[in-house]
Amino acid sequence: MHAAPKAPMRVCIALSILFGILFVPSGYAQTTTMQERPNTWNPQISAGIVFLGGYSTADEHAHEEQHGLESGLQLQEVELRLMSNVDPFFRGVLSLAGHMHDGVMEVGFEEAFLSTLAIPDLTIRAGKFLLNFGKSNLRHTHARHYLTAPMPTQALTGADHLLGVGVSLDYLLPLPFFTELNLQAVRPAWETGHTDDPGGHAHGSDEDPLDLTYVTHLKTLVDLSDTTTLELGGSYMGNQDDHGHLESTWGVDMTLKWVPLERARYETIDWTTEYISAHRDGVKGDGLYTSLRRQTAQRWWLQLRGAILGLTRETDSRRYRGETMLAFAPSERSAIRLQYALETLAHSDTTTDDHHDLVHEVFLQFIVSMGAHPAHAY
């Protein structure tokens, strides 16, 4: 008597559960596609993870001037980046980045700036951004050609990435070939990245906020043919030290790039050489590196880089570093890279054991990027 009217109800419940199970997945799929379009009002979002693991013999000897990678597993970079045109006049970029230092994850706003959209030939930026010094500083960790910045750049600028809070003027000169002049005036905002920084060049909060660092960068690129380009660059970074003396760092670079028209996706070659010279309190010296990258197939790269620190001066501690990398990029959004590096320090006094001066490094890196389509940088 009581059960009879409930039976159809049970059937109803059972059916609705069944329908629920059957249709929830497709319903879910539909809501996700529906949401793709309203999302266009949100800023473009991209996120990247760079995972690094490997071994360096440097740790066995606790080298003081070792600038290479630390043994073990680490997150080299975690980045969340938001980009959007703000209105017809400005574009905003904001990035939150985390890096691992001695096993501790440090997170902070890496870049946060506005740039102009409506001025012909000129882009003005204001906020915190990467300084346009040298060939490699504008590349984020995930976009670097090797696992680390070039050894001379890192040693002579004293930073992993040079960052600053200030303004930047970027002018495309009215010439038939690409020539860009970039002027930047910033309050330095970079960490040295090394606790044993030789120059004590740490930029801390005790600095005078009006002590600005100036960067000038001239870059020109000429098409030698449909497939080959020659790029020449020169940059200068200067500031006054605590005693009013001028501290400066400058560099020149040259890049030859070959990208065949029809097979642009399958093979490319680029060859970059850069010379950097530093004249700062604590860091005086110069260095040179040269790098050859060969894309051998759609997803494979083979790379070699050699570097010397103390090329013409500072001969008492000349340092050499050689790196070779094999990179595999399953798609535009991921990469697996294996790098072997050999570093050696040549002392003028041979009291130390030469054997200890050789450092070997083997590291494997995984990079993924999610969200907004990554740009095909040239």
């Binding site: 959209l117 380009t229 642009a264 535009e332």
Partner: protein
Amino acid sequence: MKRMGNTLLFLALILWGSSVANAKINVVTTTTDLADLVRQIGGPHVTVQSITKARQDPHYVKAKPSLMVKLRRADLLVSVGLDLETGWLPRLIRGSRNPKIRSGEPGNLKVGGFIKAIGIPTAIDHSHGHVHAHGNPHFWLDPVQFKKIVSTVTKRLMKLDPAHGTDFKGRAAALSEKLDAKLHEWTKKMAPYKGTPLVSYHDTFNYFYERFGLVGVGTLEIKPGVPPSPKHLNRAIQMVKGNDVKVILHEIYHDERPSKFVAKRTGAKIVILPTSVGGVPEASDYIGLMDVLVNTFVGTMETIAQ
């Protein structure tokens, strides 16, 4: 001295006057097909150049700084849209520092929004490869879709240069007429091959299939932009055999090895086709390109039949 000054001023005025009178619209397009279209409609009132060369894969263009220089003085940028150029064009536009061609300005025209797109994905997930959220962008290989953008481009040129509006309209009408006549011819030539199963390397020819009633049974790529593995190629061999595919269409700029591998093991014939104006010398304009596609295809089918 004064007379010389006057002469110089006079000359300067003449030069200035003539430059205003002959001010051509400086148009840059992303592909050679669009460049041909703008050239045909704009006639002597436009200068046109294409960013990509005909034998280049429009997906994989690098944002070369010299291309920014090309764009810096452009009055109009015409692109395919449908995310085809998403990897490189936004960067080039920013790098050109040319406010006229920014997205949303009259100087920026994405024609993909004016056609009926096919292959719109039902779910967007990057594990599906390099998917285009708004549909397959290779619409220009269907002359009917291509004809749709004739009026789109004409209207935009009229907006930028109203003085030559009637001229643009006249040229557009003549082009449409020519396209109609050619379409009739192409349809007739292709009619015997309705239902022919085909395989291509990438999803490039889907609009071509759609127009002429051909059947695309699959691609050699695993997913858009992901090259085939040996395992996938073995599956592709089964696909070719199972569907009785006799012809593999191959884009001019893709690696030929996968197509050759499959062709060798199935006996299917590879047909290498240009996908843009200028890809082969005979494809000197859009109609020439379609002639090459239709004639090459028909020619191949006839040899197979013999």
